[in-house]
């Protein structure tokens, strides 16, 4: 029963997911498979300018369909991938690329996370190195240990005495009443 339900559920999820991923409806004819693969790859690498969190392959917007057509035309003209990327960047700016190119403007973007991780590692190392030293100081040597034992014993004796004292006091009180 449970497995059946799971099956139904997973089928549902699968259908739903495939619906979401369905590409917009346009038909491009390619002479060869290589161009087709290049078209698919490039339309995933280029950002739709209007709907900025989607690539060209995903987007249904008017601009994206125009850009897909342009991409197709450029491919049919026999332009190389890097040429096409350059043309797109020339018109829409660096921002049209999902993976921005490494340049002085994007150094922070590319190497920032790496630098942060390095800083984190250094901080962790510093903290770890400091800890053993403090631990050593905290541990008691045998002399201190002995003294501690003594203190504890004294304390125990003291509390016993106090307790006895309290008890006698309490019984005295009772007798008075």
């Amino acid at each position: 029963m449970l497995s059946k339900m799971f099956f139904v559920l997973s089928t549902f999820v699968f259908i739903f997911a495939s619906n979401v991923m369905a590409s917009p409806v346009e038909v491009f004819e390619f002479h060869d498979d290589v161009t087709k693969v290049r078209f698919q790859a490039l339309s995933k690498e280029l950002r739709c300018p209007k709907c900025q969190n989607q690539n060209l392959a995903d987007s249904n917007s008017i601009v994206a369909s125009a850009l897909r057509l342009e991409l197709y035309n450029l491919l049919v003209q026999g332009r190389a991938d890097f040429e096409i990327m350059n043309i797109m960047v020339e018109r829409y700016g660096e921002f049209v690329l999902y993976r921005p190119r490494v340049s002085s403007v994007t150094y922070v973007l590319w190497f920032g996370p790496l630098v942060l991780i390095l800083i984190g590692i250094i901080v962790v190392i510093i903290i770890l190195r400091r800890k053993p030293a403090t631990k050593e100081n905290l541990a008691l040597n045998s002399q201190q240990q002995e003294k501690l034992q003594q203190l504890l014993q004294n304390n125990q004796a003291q509390t016993n005495q106090d307790l006895a004292f309290d008890l006698t006091k309490a019984s005295n009180k009772k007798e008075k009443e």
Partner: protein
């Protein structure tokens, strides 16, 4: 030294907050056009009102040109339209349209219904000129100087306030440039 380190996380969090707060007020659809300072791209397309008339870049150059990208599918264009009609009376600029990814009949209907402020509207059915111009959507307006160089791209509707703030100073400057050359 120790005290400073203790406050370091607080300072960092405040700095991060400031950066993110600034991010809230930024418009993500605003991007500097990559085309500003470059020549208007070549094209050869018909006009909305005349399928047999082919216009090219040469038809645009010589004046200070406003090139307005519009479409009947775009609600903001409708909002903008009355101001464009107003703008068409301005003798300092010439207003041309780019009818972007649209149907000819619907576009013609639009121009008869809401008045036609354009010298002519280029009929860019497949968006090929739009893609060359780096158009994101409509409405978008380009300012092209008398040499055919794109000087500004503005995304969004133009109204009186926008015109005064975004366009008027540039147009003034272009007029001065043009006069100096003559």
């Amino acid at each position: 030294m120790n005290k400073i380190i203790r406050f370091l996380p607080l300072i960092l969090v405040i700095a991060l907050g400031a950066v993110l707060y600034r991010g809230l007020s930024l418009d993500p659809s605003y991007t500097e056009s990559a085309l500003v300072g470059k020549a208007m791209p070549d094209f050869a397309l018909s006009t909305v009102n005349n399928a047999n008339k082919i216009v090219t870049k040469a038809d645009l150059t010589g004046d200070i040109v406003l090139l307005n990208v519009w479409g009947t599918w775009c609600p903001t264009c409708k909002y903008e339209h009355p101001y464009l009609v107003e703008l068409a009376k301005n003798p300092q600029v010439k207003l041309y349209g780019v009818n972007y990814i649209d149907e000819r009949l619907a576009a013609q209907q639009w121009l008869t219904n809401y008045q036609d402020p354009y010298q002519f509207s280029i009929f860019d059915e497949e968006g090929l000129l739009g893609v060359k111009l780096g158009v994101f959507g409509a409405p978008e307006t380009f300012v092209i100087d008398h040499h055919g160089i794109i000087r500004k791209r503005f995304a969004g509707a133009i109204d009186t306030r926008v015109w005064r703030k975004e366009f008027a100073p540039l147009i003034k400057q272009l007029i001065i440039e043009k006069k100096q050359e003559i």
